[in-house]
């Protein structure tokens, strides 16, 4: 199965901003924060299409997200809007600053046919199960 090495960025989008003011449990917020934006060339390399699910993996964890076409060229970069799903692949180390590295991580993307994006409740259930 094709696999893609990318630089992972997390950040704000306007839709995510609207979603968080609407409510973190809203459909808008879910839709805005459970996506990974990829360049069309990278989507082609993965052999998937917009709307398909992929697994984004870093040294800190992995997450299933929906593929969205990046509106502007960004080959080699995967962008996930801030939110509980993005935070599954971010580490807790802060280099003594208090700030985790939320941008510029190395990540691997694999197609995840048939896999579903976790709901917020499922996400916390999984975190509870893996809490030591």
């Amino acid at each position: 199965m094709p696999s893609l090495e990318v630089i992972l960025l997390t950040g704000r989008t306007r839709r995510q901003g609207v979603g968080l003011e609407l409510g973190k449990l809203s459909e808008t917020y879910f839709e805005a924060t459970t996506q990974v934006r990829l360049d069309p060339s990278d989507i082609e390399k993965l052999g998937v299409e917009a709307g398909d699910t992929v697994e984004v993996k870093t040294e800190h964890g992995s997450v299933i997200l929906t593929v969205v076409v990046a509106p502007r060229p960004s080959a080699g970069i995967a962008f996930i809007p801030y939110g509980p799903w993005a935070n599954l692949v971010i580490g807790g180390e802060t280099d003594s600053t208090g700030m985790p590295t939320m941008k510029g991580l190395k990540a691997t993307i694999n197609p995840a046919p048939g896999k579903q994006v976790l709901t917020l409740q499922e996400l916390y259930a999984e975190l509870r199960a893996t809490a030591k």
């Binding site: 306007r14 449990l25 509106p71 935070n87 802060t94 700030m99 590295t101 916390y124």
Partner: protein
């Protein structure tokens, strides 16, 4: 294309609605203070109750959502005690009962963490810090995962900054570095830089640069976009400093940006009169973190040999600047303060929320107007799932869903009683007004925190210091 500010409140002033002018929008750190809010009067519109906000002119899409969606299904109207393995068994209780339960958790805890404070008023911050003192807590605000590294840089090298008004009136070159104002501060360019006429600058006369790791809609609108490799902003700034000093750089590109483009940019900076640099989390959350900001401030200092130059962080939450100010005037430190020993200790990396949680070093968490369950790395959230969590928030969030005690509060600047203030990103304090009544029985963060201080003092037998 200047469309703001609109002054069309007249069209809203029907006999069925009143209009409140110059309302401060409490979404982002730009604190737009020109919102015109229409509120229904008696004799309500069909199916719209009296005192409902039906329009918020001038607000951006995010601010507009905030004003108009205050009372949707996600609003919490009663304090809750939550239990069960997934905190899904919800018992609605009175505010007194919920506060007593929360105070019991705080008084019992050996090392409580108080976190948030950026989306509430300075007055609520004052009470939260008092609560931290009487609880012997670690208190941290959201700047530790936002512009905290920038503050650490300022403590190292100082900062030359200005008000947004001065930038609007004087700046002929404006740089947005590692930020996307279109997404996070949607009216910033229209109020202070690109699409506004200043006292000494005509609209369209300014040069606006965007430096970021990926192109966005904003990059299409600017004079030039410099696409830098992720995590290499430091190198780019260092090279610009060298060029300003007249050094030769033999490389063909730096940090992914062609040298030709960098040279042109440096030449523009050298011939400018007033340069304003706005930086975002692209610098503070990438490799280098605080060092990136140190370099950016040093670049600003270098630019002052050629022009007037200032630098400012694009603060996110509407009063994160205030949270830093209040913490500084109270304890001497802006965030990540430990009060475990009774005296304040400043320890980013030790007393910062993500570190405390990731290392599992707290036994209770009080969250005030923030959502760490949605914004912290999984490693930190895992610990939150193991300890009692108390949350103050007007609406349901990821954190309220994993909380033991939920204390619903009024929106400050819209519903909250009393005098409240917030600091804009440039440190200008603005007063927040109440424009509509809160839902019945809902109090302000300040009021609830005062109740908590009183109860924790009672449980611990502490005599409360009376402010004069």
């Amino acid at each position: 294309m200047t469309t703001d500010p609109k002054d069309t409140a007249g069209i809203l002033a029907t006999p069925r609605a009143r209009v409140v002018k110059n309302v401060v929008c409490t979404f982002c750190g730009a604190l737009c203070d020109d919102i015109q809010v229409a509120i229904t009067l008696t004799g309500p519109l069909p199916r719209v109750p009296e005192g409902t906000i039906i329009e918020a002119l001038n607000a951006c899409r995010i601010g507009h959502t905030k004003f108009l969606k205050l009372r949707d299904e996600y609003r919490i109207l009663k304090p809750e005690l939550r239990s069960g393995p997934n905190k899904s068994e919800v018992r609605q209780v009175s505010l007194d009962v919920a506060v007593k339960e929360a105070a019991k958790i705080l008084a019992r805890a050996k090392r409580p963490l108080i976190y948030g404070l950026a989306s509430t008023s300075n007055e609520a911050n004052v009470k939260a810090l008092e609560l931290a003192e009487v609880s012997g807590a670690i208190v941290d605000n959201t700047s530790s995962v936002c512009h905290g590294p920038g503050i650490e840089a300022v403590q190292r090298v100082g900062i030359g900054t200005a008000t947004l008004g001065k930038i609007k009136n004087y700046a002929d070159v404006v740089i947005y570095w590692g930020c996307n104002p279109v997404a996070a501060h949607p009216r910033h360019t229209r109020r202070y830089s690109q699409f506004i006429e200043g006292m000494f600058r005509k609209e369209g006369e300014r040069k606006v640069y965007h430096i970021d790791v990926r192109p966005t809609r904003f990059s299409d609108e600017v004079t030039d976009f410099l696409q830098v490799n992720p995590g290499e902003d430091y190198e780019l700034m260092a090279v610009i400093r060298a060029l300003l000093r007249g050094r030769e750089i033999p490389q063909e590109s730096v940090a992914g940006v062609p040298m030709r483009q960098v040279r042109e940019f440096a030449a523009t900076l050298k011939s400018a009169e007033f340069i304003a640099i706005f930086f975002g989390l692209g610098l503070t959350q990438s490799r280098g973190k605080d060092h990136n900001i140190t370099q950016a401030i040093d670049l600003t200092a270098e630019l002052n040999h050629h022009a007037k130059a200032v630098i400012m962080p694009m603060r996110g939450h509407f009063n994160v600047t205030g949270a830093n100010h209040v913490s500084t005037w109270t304890f001497g430190f802006p965030f990540s303060v430990s009060l475990e020993t009774g005296a304040p200790y400043y320890m980013p990396g030790e007393a910062s929320a993500v570190d405390v949680l990731t290392r599992g070093e707290t036994d209770a968490v009080l969250v005030i107007a923030a959502d760490p369950a949605a914004s912290f790395p999984a490693a930190a959230v895992r610990h939150m799932l193991k300890v009692p969590v108390i949350t103050l928030d007007p609406k349901r969030s990821a954190t309220t869903e994993i909380s033991d005690v939920v204390l619903p509060s009024a929106y400050v600047g819209i519903e909250a009683d009393g005098i409240h203030t917030a600091y804009r990103m440039d440190g200008i304090p603005l007063q927040l007004r109440k424009i509509i009544d809160p839902p019945k029985g809902i109090e302000s963060d300040e009021h609830i925190l005062d109740m908590l201080v009183r109860e924790v003092c009672r449980l611990k037998g502490i005599k409360r210091y009376k402010h004069t």
